[in-house]
Symmetry: C2
Subunit: 425 residues, 2 copies
C-alpha cells in the first residue's frame, strides 16, 4: 500500500504546535472549487494533457540506433525529464547502460565542453526543448552545437525540436527537423507529462505508458472533493496552515538517491508557482540519510520555520546483509538501516514539535513516479488558490533577462568595481 | 584581482533596506576578539591544522597503481573532499579521466550496488573516513565492502583509515591498515584541510600544496583586525545584521558548475555550526545560471527573507563562440553570457531591495579553492560568536541516532500505520 501520512502535524502527536480538525475547515473546499472551475474553463492544460494518446509522442525515425541522447533545456523544459530519467534508470546510469544520456542545462561553457569530449555528435540524438523557443541558454548551446553538427555532416534526424514558437520553431521548420508542439495552456514547470518530457523519456527507454497511467490514477484521487481522501488537497492545506504559522520553508527529503532529482523538480514547481507578490514558501531539496549529517541539527534545534516532507520507499534494487560480529548492525540489511533512519529522524522531529509528513511507497518505478509528479502538480495548484496567487505565471524573472540582454547588446554598462565596499582577497 | 564585494547591501545601492557604516560598529570587534582568544586557547584546530607539514599526508605504498578510488564517509568527512575534487577536476571527471573516483556517502543500498557494478575491488583504493570511528552509515558500508574485499583477496594496501577512534580505528589497528589521525580539536565540518581531505585528495591528483597555500594566504587576510579589510569578518557581520532584519535564509549561488559541490559543503558548515538554541540561518545551495529558471522568481518577488551570495569566476576551461546570424547572441561567447547573466540577476535583485554579495575570482583552481574554503570557515566561526552559539558542536543530531539504534536493536517499536490521518494513494 502506498500512502500519505499526516499524523505528525496533528495535535495528538505534535502537541500545541499541531493542527486540529477544526483548523482544517473551509479553505480546502474553496481551493478545490476554484481549481475545478479553472479546469472547466480549459485553463489547466496539465490536467488535460495526461489524457492525450501517447502515440503522439513517437519519433519518425530509427532513434534507437543513436548511442547518445542529449537534452538541451532550462527549468521546466528539463527538470522533470531529469527527475523521471534518474528515478527510473538510477544513479550512475551512464556508467552502467549502453545508451548514454546527457543534460545540457546551463550556460557554463565547461558543461558543453565536457559533454563534447565524451559524445560522438554523429551518434547523438539531440532534443532541444523550450516552450517560448527563445530561452537564451538553450539557444546559445543549440547554435554552437548546430554549427558543429553541420560541419560533421549530421543529418536532420539528429535533431528534434520540442517548442511552441520563437527562433527555435522557426529553425525547426526551415531545417525540416521533427517538431513536437507544447500545448499553449501547459506551463513549463507543469509540462513534464506533455511532449516536453514524454518524447525524450520514451527515447531513453522509459515506459511512458506506465508513467501516464500513474498520473491518470492519481488524477482520479485528486478530484475527490473530500479533503480527507484527497492527498493533494490535504498536502496543500497543511502547507498553507503552517505557512500562516511561520513555517516559511518547505523541505522535501526523500530517503533514496534516485529521488534527489525529483526534489529538484519540486523545488522549481513550488518556488516559481507560489513565490510572488511577497508570498510563497521557500522549497529546500534535501536527501536522506546523508543530510542527517548536514542539515538535521538545524532542522531539530534551529529556528522553527520548517515543515518537512519525507519520502520513503520500501523496496530497493539490490540490498546487502551486514555481518560484522558483535556490532548492533549485525544481521541487518542496508535497506533496513536507511528506512529506520528515516523513522528515527521523523520521531526526533515530532518530539521537538517540528511538523512533518511522509509519503510511503512500496516501490519506485514509472507508475509511482507518475503518481508522485501529478500529486505534486495538483498540490501546487491547490496551494496557489489558498495563497491567492496565480500559480501559472512567473512575471518577475523578466527583469534580469532584460538587463542581461542590454548588457549583451552593449546598451548597459558592465560592472564597475569601486574601491569602496570591496575587499581584495 | 580576486575580490569580495558588499556594495549591494549598502544603503547607497539598496535604499532603505540597506546598511549604513554606523550599523556595522561594535559587533565585529567583539567576535574578532573572541575567536582570537579561542585560537590562543588552542580550541580552533582548523586554524592550526593548515600549518602542518603536508608530508604527513603521504600514503606508504604505491597508491598510484589503483585504477579506482572510493571514499566512504558522511557529512564533514566527505563533503569538503567532494567540493575540492569536483572544483579541481571538473564535472564528468570519471568519464574523462583514467582514474575513477566514487563517493559512498549514503546508506541507500542502490548507491553501493551501482558502484560495485562499476569498480573492480582489487583495483580500488578505499578511504574510510570518520572522526568518531562509529558513524553508522560509514561502518555499514565498510563492513559489507571489507567482507567482499577479503573474499576477493584484496590486501591491506587497499584500505586506508582516517579516524581518531571507535570501531573503525580498532579495525585499522587490528588489520594493520594505514591510519591517519584527525586532530582532536578539528571538528568534522571544519576538517577538510586536515588528513580528512588532504590524504584522499592527494591520491586523486589534487595539488594539496597549492590548496594549503591558498588557505594560509587567506588566514593572513582573515586575521586582520580591521573589519573593512577582513572579508570573513565583514561577511559574517553582514549576514548577522540581515538575519536580525528577518533574512532567515542565506543563498549561495555560484555561476559555475564546478562550484556546486562547494555550495553543498557550505550548506553543512552554515547549518550545523549555527543552527542551535532556536538560532541560525537556513543555507540554500543554488546554481547559476540554471536556477534563474527555477528559484529566481521566488528570490525577486517572494517573501523578503533572503540574503544572496554570488560567486563568479572569470575564466572557464574552454569556451565557445556563438555565431548565429542576426540574433543578439551573435559574436558573444558562452562565458560572456553566463557572467552577464550573473550581473543582470544581481542588478535585478538590488533594484528590488534584495541584499546580495559577490565573490569574484579570476580563476578556479586549488589555490583559490583553498582561499574560499578557509574564508568560509572563518566566516562561520565569526558568525557563531555574533549569534552567541557554539559553532563547533552539534548536540541535537544524537536524538535521531538514538531512536534509530533502538529500532535496529528491537528496543523500540517500528512504524504503526493508523487509518486516521493516512490517505491511501
Amino acid at each position: 500500500m502506498d500512502y500519505f501520512k499526516y499524523t505528525n502535524v496533528m495535535r495528538e502527536k505534535l502537541g500545541r504546535e499541531g493542527l486540529s480538525l477544526e483548523d482544517m475547515e473551509g479553505i480546502g473546499d474553496m481551493a478545490y472549487r476554484r481549481i475545478m472551475e479553472k479546469y472547466d474553463r480549459e485553463e489547466l492544460g496539465f490536467m488535460e494533457v495526461i489524457y492525450r494518446d501517447i502515440g503522439e509522442y513517437s519519433l519518425n525515425h530509427r532513434y534507437r540506433e543513436f548511442k547518445y541522447i542529449l537534452v538541451i533545456g532550462m527549468g521546466g523544459s528539463i527538470l522533470g525529464t531529469q527527475a523521471i530519467y534518474e528515478g527510473v534508470k538510477g544513479i550512475y546510469a551512464n556508467e552502467l547502460n549502453e545508451k548514454k544520456v546527457f543534460f545540457l542545462d546551463n550556460s557554463d561553457p565547461e558543461l558543453l565542453y565536457s559533454i563534447l569530449r565524451i559524445v560522438d555528435l554523429k551518434e547523438t540524438l539531440v532534443f532541444v526543448v523550450s516552450k517560448s523557443g527563445n530561452t537564451v541558454e538553450t539557444l546559445a548551446n543549440f547554435f554552437i552545437l548546430k554549427e558543429m553538427m553541420e560541419k560533421k555532416g549530421c543529418g536532420k534526424d539528429n535533431i528534434v525540436i520540442i517548442s511552441s514558437g520563437g527562433v527555435l520553431k522557426e529553425i525547426g521548420e526551415r531545417e525540416d527537423y521533427q517538431i513536437f508542439e507544447i500545448p499553449e495552456n501547459v506551463v513549463g514547470r507543469f509540462s513534464v507529462l506533455s511532449s516536453v518530457g514524454l518524447v525524450p523519456l520514451s527515447a531513453m527507454g522509459v515506459d511512458i505508458e506506465r508513467l501516464i497511467s500513474g498520473a491518470r490514477d492519481m488524477d482520479k484521487i485528486c478530484r475527490r472533493d473530500d479533503l480527507f481522501k484527497n492527498p493533494a488537497l490535504m498536502n496543500a492545506l497543511i502547507h498553507h496552515l503552517f505557512l500562516n504559522r511561520g513555517k516559511s520553508i518547505s523541505v522535501l527529503m526523500p530517503y533514496m538517491e534516485r529521488l534527489y532529482r525529483f526534489s529538484m523538480w519540486y523545488r522549481q514547481l513550488w518556488a516559481e508557482s507560489l513565490g510572488k507578490d511577497g508570498k510563497g514558501q521557500t522549497p529546500v531539496a534535501a536527501l536522506g540519510a546523508k543530510d542527517q549529517h548536514s542539515q538535521l541539527q538545524l532542522y531539530l534545534d534551529g529556528p522553527r520555520d520548517k515543515i518537512i516532507t519525507f519520502i520513503r520507499v520500501k523496496r530497493f534494487r539490490g540490498d546487502f546483509n551486514i555481518r560484522y560480529r558483535g556490532h548492533y548492525l549485525e544481521d541487518h540489511t542496508l535497506s533496513q538501516l536507511i528506512n529506520l533512519q528515516q523513522l528515527g529522524t521523523e520521531r526526533a522531529l515530532t518530539a521537538r514539535g517540528v511538523p512533518n509528513l511522509s509519503i510511503v511507497l512500496k516501490d519506485l518505478d514509472e507508475y509511482t513516479l507518475g503518481k508522485l509528479i501529478y500529486m505534486y502538480e495538483m498540490t501546487t495548484a491547490f496551494m496557489g488558490e489558498m495563497l491567492g496567487v496565480n500559480a501559472f505565471d512567473q512575471p518577475a524573472v523578466e527583469e534580469g533577462k532584460r538587463i542581461t540582454r542590454e548588457l549583451l547588446e552593449g546598451r548597459a554598462k558592465g560592472e564597475e568595481v569601486l574601491e569602496e565596499y570591496v575587499i581584495k582577497i
